[in-house]
């Protein structure tokens, strides 16, 4: 048995029955990384982990995990795959990292991402692109592409990602794994290096729904260090794993099945709906009338916040500091300009400029403020439907994974691959992507399920039922 190809809950059973050891699991993961990561390039940094046999037994979840390179780990380098943060070692653990360490998790390494989580393909990285394990000349999606690819390639048992506009769900969909964006406020953002503060949320990327619930159990909860985390009780999400959707009412937003949706993706999603119908759920076509404004609203809100969040990378305290050869303005301004010129990639610069523009005096009302208002309308659309429906269902992304390099020079078409995912971030609701089939080219397709705030249990219940009655999640790549 190849241990690294098992799920975490299977491994925990094996550990419980003394059929394996944490050392053996970690060893199998390390071997896989050695074998395939030169092709996949999921990791940007590996920690030299050794399992301490004395503490291994007392650890509840000694499972090797990949961490997206935007979460602070005490005394380890964290860079957001950006040149500007090269050499930055956080003097503290992110709350999620603290919780993982406490649970006994073995942090294997940091996974690649689009720089500062800005992108949908994990091509915008100062370390180079990550490749999709299912087809190495395709992108793994993004921005948590490294985490999704690591799990798909069995280079990690599970992984942590962050989702600002689809950055967990879209790569999960592209890589054939399960990705959950929890409700905004469910998981602490303390120590997550911000892209867009009002949209960012940390979540699990796993091989199946059971692991997703297990990992959410570890990381969820109120944190007094994060004012946006919500002080609501955290249920045991394993209890939600019920093979039963009888009587559930699920809406199918018609705006998610329009032009641009690839027929193969549409067919797979319709088949998934059929499967759930057979298990007793009822479906109805519904409307989210403001969907078409989602991408515009998202890109105004996210870039505005990002322009402010990323202003601190100025060469003063940490990361790189660059000075031009010749003085241009003043030593200080020159340092700012040159550091940011050298440190940031093209997509990050593009978004900083967009956001700065939206917030500028004279444009604020027309862009940022208008964006806020439309955001409320989008949220209202969901609130209305959730008063009647238990969940909404549709595709995670309009297409399967595209070729590396295909969309690099066409930002707008790249932005559109998030068209079905941004609304969940704008409205703060939880959403999950689960594998629901393959294209003819054998690229994975993802099914997205959304529910009202703090209804992660509903997502798990529907996703678990679907998973129990299909075997997409059991198919994996062998690299």
């Amino acid at each position: 048995m190849e241990l690294n190809r098992q799920t975490a809950h299977e491994l925990l059973d094996l550990l419980k029955n003394k059929k394996t050891t944490p050392e053996a699991i970690l060893d199998s993961v390390h071997k896989q990384i050695q074998k395939s990561d030169k092709d996949v390039k999921a990791y940007v940094r590996l920690n030299q982990n050794k399992v301490d046999p004395k503490t291994a037994n007392s650890r509840s979840v000694p499972i090797p995990i990949g961490i997206k390179d935007n979460m602070c780990i005490l005394d380890e380098e964290t860079t957001c795959s950006s040149r500007i943060l090269k050499g930055f070692k956080a003097p503290y653990d992110a709350t999620v990292i603290e919780k993982l360490k406490k649970s006994g998790a073995i942090l294997i390494g940091n996974t690649n991402m689009d720089e500062f989580a800005m992108g949908s393909s994990t091509e915008n990285s100062c370390y180079g692109a990550t490749h999709n394990p299912w087809k190495l000349d395709c992108v793994p999606g993004g921005s948590s592409g490294g985490s999704a690819a690591a799990v798909a390639a069995s280079e990690a048992i599970w992984a942590i990602g962050s989702d600002t506009g689809g950055s967990i769900r879209q790569p999960a969909s592209f890589c054939g794994v399960v990705g959950l964006k929890p409700t905004y406020g469910r998981v602490s953002r303390y120590g997550l290096i911000a892209f867009a503060s009002s949209l960012d949320q940390i979540g699990p990327i796993t091989k199946d729904v059971t692991d997703s619930a297990l990992l959410l159990n570890v990381i969820a909860g109120y944190d007094e260090r994060d004012s946006t985390s919500v002080n609501a009780p955290v249920p045991d999400y394993r209890q939600a794993l019920k093979n039963n959707v009888k009587g559930l009412k699920i809406g199918i937003p018609k705006e998610y099945f329009v032009q641009g949706l690839h027929p193969e993706v549409k067919n797979a999603v319709m088949a998934a709906i059929e499967a759930l119908k057979n298990k007793g759920a009822t479906f109805k076509k519904v409307s989210l009338p403001h969907t078409e404004y989602g991408i515009a609203t998202y890109y105004i809100t996210a870039t505005s916040e990002a322009s402010s969040n990323l202003a601190r990378y100025d060469g003063v305290q940490y990361g790189i500091r660059e000075l031009p050869k010749k003085t241009r303005k003043s030593p200080l301004l020159d340092m700012y300009d040159e550091t940011r010129h050298v440190g940031f990639g093209a997509e990050v610069k593009r978004r900083i400029m967009l956001g700065t523009y939206s917030l500028s005096s004279g444009y604020y009302d027309a862009y940022y403020l208008k964006g806020l208002k439309v955001r409320t309308l989008i949220k209202n659309d969901f609130d209305k439907l959730f008063s009647e429906f238990d969940a909404l269902i549709g595709p995670t992304s309009p297409t399967t994974a595209f070729k590396i390099g295909d969309k690099v020079n066409d930002p707008l078409s790249m932005y559109l691959s998030d068209i079905y995912t941004v609304s969940a971030n704008l409205s703060g609701i939880p959403a999950i992507s689960v594998p629901c089939g393959f294209s003819k080219e054998r690229l994975p397709i993802g099914l997205q399920i959304m529910a009202k705030p703090f209804a992660e249990e509903m997502l798990f219940r529907i996703a678990y039922t679907y998973e129990q009655n299909t075997d997409w999640h059991k198919q994996s790549v062998n690299l």
């Binding site: 979460m71 602070c72 964290t78 957001c80 943060l85 930055f88 956080a90 003097p91 503290y92 992110a94 953002r189 303390y190 120590g191 997550l192 290096i193 911000a194 867009a196 503060s197 009002s198 007094e224 260090r225 994060d226 004012s227 946006t228 505005s304 916040e305 322009s307 402010s308 202003a311 601190r312 100025d314 003063v316 305290q317 940490y318 200080l332 700012y336 700065t356 917030l359 500028s360 005096s361 604020y364 940022y368």
Partner: protein
């Protein structure tokens, strides 16, 4: 400039005060809020603005802000919202300052001041909002570099902005004095301009008397003491008037007060005007304060100086002059009230507080709270003088010994032998000795020159080391010589 020219113009001043709140910890993290520690020792990921860190509002800072607002008669907004003010500067580690933009916690208040003519005047407060302070830059010319100390970064600040209601430098000075006194009563800030815990910028313009439209304003900064505010404003007003009188235009700009050269000069032109790109701080979700919070705070406010002054005058029949001195330190006023329980004559208490006691405090550069003087001991002095046991002079000496040694009045009298001598036979002997020694003077008194009695009394006091009862001595001299 002629007086006529001065009378042609009306001065319009608005003040912006930055007040450091003396909460135990900073506004968005748990670091200590202290002055004078070694650089960068009071920091954490949050106030250093490290990647991934998040702010959390200090409830005490909110409470202090409410107190300030309520004391300044403001409307307190229960909906608390913060905004980001974006700008690049090394003293601002996040490259934005968390502040309040469109919804300040306090607005529409006022503070009463006294004008130069002694009339009461209301100075409207436009707003008072909460924000975080920046770090401190130190320019090291020797090594040609700049150093940053982040200890001050994230300490809670309140910005208190008046309407343009002040009409002279003196009014501005009076406003600041009153504001400082009010804030000291609340015990929310050290209000020390020299240490920077109270900083003041001013907007100044002048306009022809009777005009409605405001003139072009300049903003004046770098006034580091109350006196500097007055001097800087006076200078700037004069500069405006001189410019208009000679037909020059005022340029809207920021100017700095140079204390040593006693003049103002332009800081930078407005072409570098910042666009701060304010937007709601997404890391701090706006929230409603509990309904009772504002009322609870209102009830917890101490009696404020204006009220106290009024009450002291009414309840104890204290003069305006005395009341003004007493309210300068709430501890002093409390002390007075305690004393009045032990001694009936409040005028005498005032005289003792405003005279000898203030003198002792001033020479020691200390505050009442620090000298451990109890009202019951202090009033014993007045009783003893009244009963003729102590002379005024001796009582003042005893006060000094009391503060120095923390001993009781009686112990000191005994140790120093300072009790007043009123015993007739002892005093008569003393007077007879004096008559012998100064027979010329005695002769003059016998001849009706009463003014010479004072000389002999003085000699008696000297000989007795101040212990002789001067009234009795005077009586005895008269009895024996006339």
């Amino acid at each position: 400039m002629t007086i006529a020219a001065k009378q042609k113009y009306e001065t319009v001043i608005g003040l912006e005060v930055h007040l450091q709140l003396n909460t135990a910890t900073k506004i968005f993290c748990g670091c200590a809020n202290k002055f004078g520690e070694a650089p960068n020792t009071l920091t954490c990921p949050v106030c250093l603005g490290l990647p991934g860190s998040l702010p959390v509002v200090n409830a005490k800072a909110l409470e202090y802000a409410m107190k300030v607002g309520l004391a300044l008669n403001c409307k307190v907004n229960p909906f608390v919202k913060f905004d980001r003010k974006n700008y690049f500067y090394p003293d601002c580690p996040k490259a934005y300052q968390i502040s309040q933009f469109d919804l300040p916690i306090c607005s529409n208040g006022y503070l009463m001041i006294e004008t130069e003519e002694g009339e009461a005047k209301e100075i409207r407060i436009n707003r008072a909002h909460l924000e975080e302070d920046a770090g401190k830059l130190i320019h090291d010319d020797k090594n040609n570099c700049s150093l940053v100390d982040y200890n001050r970064t994230g300490t809670p600040l309140m910005e208190i902005v008046t309407e343009p209601d002040l009409r002279s430098a003196q009014e501005a000075y009076n406003y600041l004095q009153n504001l400082k006194l009010t804030l000291q009563y609340l015990n929310v800030s050290d209000c020390d301009m020299e240490k920077g815990s109270l900083r003041c910028d001013a907007n100044i313009s002048i306009r022809p008397m009777g005009a409605i439209k405001l003139g072009t304003k300049t903003e004046l900064k770098n006034m580091n003491s109350f006196k500097a505010v007055k001097a800087g404003l006076e200078h700037e007003i004069h500069r405006h008037m001189a410019a208009l009188e000679s037909g020059q235009a005022i340029i809207q700009e920021t100017r700095l007060w140079d204390e040593t050269r006693a003049m103002t000069f332009a800081m930078r032109s407005k072409e570098e005007a910042h666009d701060y790109r304010y937007f709601p701080e997404p890391d701090l979700v706006p929230f409603m304060m509990e309904g009772a919070a504002i009322e609870t705070t209102r009830k917890s406010l101490p009696e404020l100086p204006a009220k106290k002054r009024e009450r002291l005058m009414e309840q104890y029949r204290v003069s305006a002059y005395d009341a003004n001195i007493l309210i300068q330190d709430p501890a002093l006023a409390d002390f007075f009230e305690e004393c009045s329980k032990h001694y009936k004559d409040t005028k005498t208490i005032c005289n003792w507080i405003n005279g000898p006691l203030m003198k002792e405090l001033n020479t020691r550069k200390t505050r009442l709270a620090d000298i451990g003087l109890r009202p019951e001991d202090f009033t014993v002095l007045m009783h003893k003088v009244n009963e003729g046991i102590l002379s005024n002079l001796a009582a003042k000496d005893i006060l000094r010994f009391m503060i120095d040694t923390q001993r009781s009045v009686d112990t000191i009298i005994e140790e120093k032998g300072l009790a007043q001598v009123s015993d007739d036979s002892t005093l008569e002997k003393l007077v007879q000795e004096l008559i012998k020694e100064h027979h010329n003077i005695a002769e003059q008194i016998r001849n009706g020159k009463e003014s010479a009695i004072g000389f002999l009394v003085g000699q008696a006091m000297r000989k007795s080391q101040g212990k002789a009862n001067p009234k009795k001595i005077g009586g005895l001299i008269k009895k024996l010589l006339t």
